[in-house]
């Protein structure tokens, strides 16, 4: 079914159209959400919420963007909501300080394994995902959409509703921050 027809059918609450939508986009949505929240069960929940939101809001879909762009936007928004909620909860939790001697944030333990990573890179990728988690939100999203989801800079710009040059800037800054974070981590390991 062509996208235009699919959208019309979705707006008419056609059940077969909704099923087709889910089957077409479920992998993209799940992969994006998983890579951002780095938790399997939460990713499943949020992925479901993305499609529920699509179902609820399809009337609001303006055909000035593609359906996939709109869905990526919902997926990144929902993921960020969860990430921010967890950060807020952590701030209020009574946990052992993770701050090192110089009040710098030390590297958190690597516990997330992305199932799509090539076997020989798994350990290194785990360290990378920890470093990605520490990036500011926009850098995290841009880096994930480009390097994990495989979107082009243009597609990423559309999904994030920013310009292509803004994406380039975010990627540049994210790589710089990742290098800094990884350097700290590997230097600590070597001590």
């Amino acid at each position: 079914m062509e996208e235009e027809t699919l959208v019309i059918n979705l707006k008419n609450r056609d059940k077969a159209a909704f099923r087709q939508l889910v089957e077409t986009y479920q992998v993209r949505v799940y992969n994006t959400v998983l890579s951002l929240v780095q938790h399997n069960e939460e990713a499943e929940d949020i992925a479901q919420e993305v499609f529920i939101e699509v179902y609820r809001s399809i009337e609001k879909f303006r055909e000035d963007s593609t359906l996939s762009t709109w869905i990526y936007r919902i997926a990144t928004t929902k993921s960020l909501e969860t990430i921010r909620k967890k950060k807020t909860q952590k701030r209020f939790a009574f946990i052992t300080s993770l701050l090192g001697k110089n009040d710098e944030l030390i590297h958190q333990p690597a516990d997330f394994e992305h199932p799509g990573v090539v076997a020989e890179n798994k350990e290194l990728a785990q360290n990378l995902f920890v470093a990605i988690k520490e990036l500011p939100d926009n850098q995290r999203i841009a880096y994930t959409l480009v390097n994990v989801e495989g979107l082009s800079y243009q597609e990423t710009a559309e999904a994030m509703n920013i310009t292509k040059s803004s994406v380039e800037s975010l990627i540049f800054r994210s790589k710089r921050n990742l290098k800094k974070s990884l350097k700290t981590y590997y230097e600590e390991l070597d001590k």
Binding site: R19, L34, A43, E44, Q48, E149, K183
Partner: protein, 103 residues
């Protein structure tokens, strides 16, 4: 001691060749169940089939009701004609067979 810059570069390249993660099987089934639960929305395709069957079933029920009403009314009117016949026979003191012929 491994060259740290080399380690960093390898780490940054560790996502090369990455495949998309897939949700567990039957994702749509679970989504559907959640939507029915939370929103009372059925996304099942056979809902269409149910609606398609409902119309003729309703039509049949209506026809049956109309037929029943007609039958009852018809029976009642026969009933009343029968009792008129009996009354006629009684009034004129006719026997049943003569009364039937005349009436």
């Amino acid at each position: 001691m491994k060259d740290i810059d080399k380690q960093i570069a390898e780490t940054l390249n560790s996502l090369d060749g990455i495949n998309r993660a897939e949700p567990k099987p039957f994702f749509f089934t679970r989504l559907e169940a959640r939507m029915e639960n939370e929103m009372g929305v059925s996304t099942h395709v056979t809902n269409k089939l149910k609606m398609a069957l409902l119309a003729p079933i309703l039509a049949c029920s209506l026809l049956l009701s109309v037929a029943s009403v007609y039958t009852v009314l018809n029976y009642n009117s026969q009933d009343s004609s029968l009792s008129s016949k009996q009354a006629f026979i009684q009034e004129y003191g006719l026997n049943k067979s003569v009364g039937s012929i005349i009436y």
